[in-house]
Symmetry: C2
Subunit: 199 residues, 2 copies
């Protein structure tokens, strides 16, 4: 079905243009017109692919989440069969931090979406669902690591999950050059060393 | 100097209106015209108090940082003489989280400012300076706590500081109702319990 593939590709091209608008010009410029300009296509063409600005934003956010998941899955394959849960968690966390161009784009998109969610309940619901799914994955991992003896049984799995997710707070510190990426990774490694009882 | 007091008050009124615009309508609406409308004054009056949109944003951000510092200082006074460093750190961290109306307003302003910083180097420099000052305060506290035996001497003060600052990552999780405020506080307390060797 070449037509449908083209449709999907075109929407992804528009989503990437939208990310660049967030990054280079700011959320104030997130209009269909400016995204069309950045993508090098007509305003009418963007309207053909998305019924509304909201639909365009929703697709760009879902696409950002998919791209992050893809990067994590690629990283998992490099870890081989039965990777240590510490390595899996480290990969999941580092791929959400703005440490390389692709992760920066999706991370900035997420930050913009959280701000949009404050005054748009559809965006709020969609962003919340995405984060809850991510949280469930991390909690499952933490619980299995406790059951397998990789994390001490006296740790509270829900609280440990929340703390791990909170460490995405390195993001603004890295974006504003308050903490170097290498320092963030070193701190994260010290954290994981204390969380895990096995290496 | 009643005139100067009035000038300052008027600027603070405009800054608070700006915070409400970020919160209720979104960063895309951060224009002098919309802030004037929210403040219930004329566009010309806002232009009288601020030479540019950038000057207005810079003041609103500085004012947000001042208000946060004020809340921390008020909290410190309630802790009495020579408070335990764990209580001081807990106060500093919780006042940056969106756990009550004032903290929500300043926290959302900060998040908007980080996004603005991505494409505006003046905002980047100002936001970075503010965060570096906050980081220095936390590191000083951590180093003193290690020297006084409240934190184990085998902890790396720079990495511990970075981890504590990263825990502001509870913010988007609370904003999107992924984690309840009580869960965030419980997780933070478990974290601090492990960091400190004395209570």
């Amino acid at each position: 079905m070449p037509k449908q593939v083209d449709h999907r590709e075109r929407r992804e091209t528009i989503a990437r243009a939208l990310w660049r608008v967030v990054e280079q010009r700011g959320v104030a410029h997130l209009t269909m017109r400016e995204v069309a300009q950045e993508a090098g296509i007509s305003h009418g063409a963007v309207q053909h692919y998305f019924a509304s600005r909201e639909a365009m934003l929703a697709f760009a956010m879902d696409f950002a989440a998919e791209q992050t998941a893809l990067r994590v899955n690629q990283g998992l394959q490099e870890l081989g069969d039965r990777p240590h849960p510490r390595a899996v968690l480290r990969l999941m966390l580092t791929e959400t931090l703005p440490l390389h161009a692709d992760a920066r784009a999706t991370s900035r998109m997420s930050a913009a979406y959280v701000l949009e969610a404050l005054h748009d309940e559809n965006v709020h619901a969609r962003a919340r669902d995405g984060m809850l799914q991510g949280r469930a994955l991390v909690e499952e991992l933490v619980r299995r690591a406790i059951a397998d003896g990789h994390i001490s049984a006296d740790r509270d799995p829900a609280a440990e999950t929340d703390l791990l997710l909170a460490l995405t707070g390195f993001t603004p510190l890295i974006e504003l050059d308050v903490i170097r990426p290498s320092s963030a990774l070193a701190a994260l490694d010290q954290y994981l060393d204390r969380l895990f009882t096995t290496a």
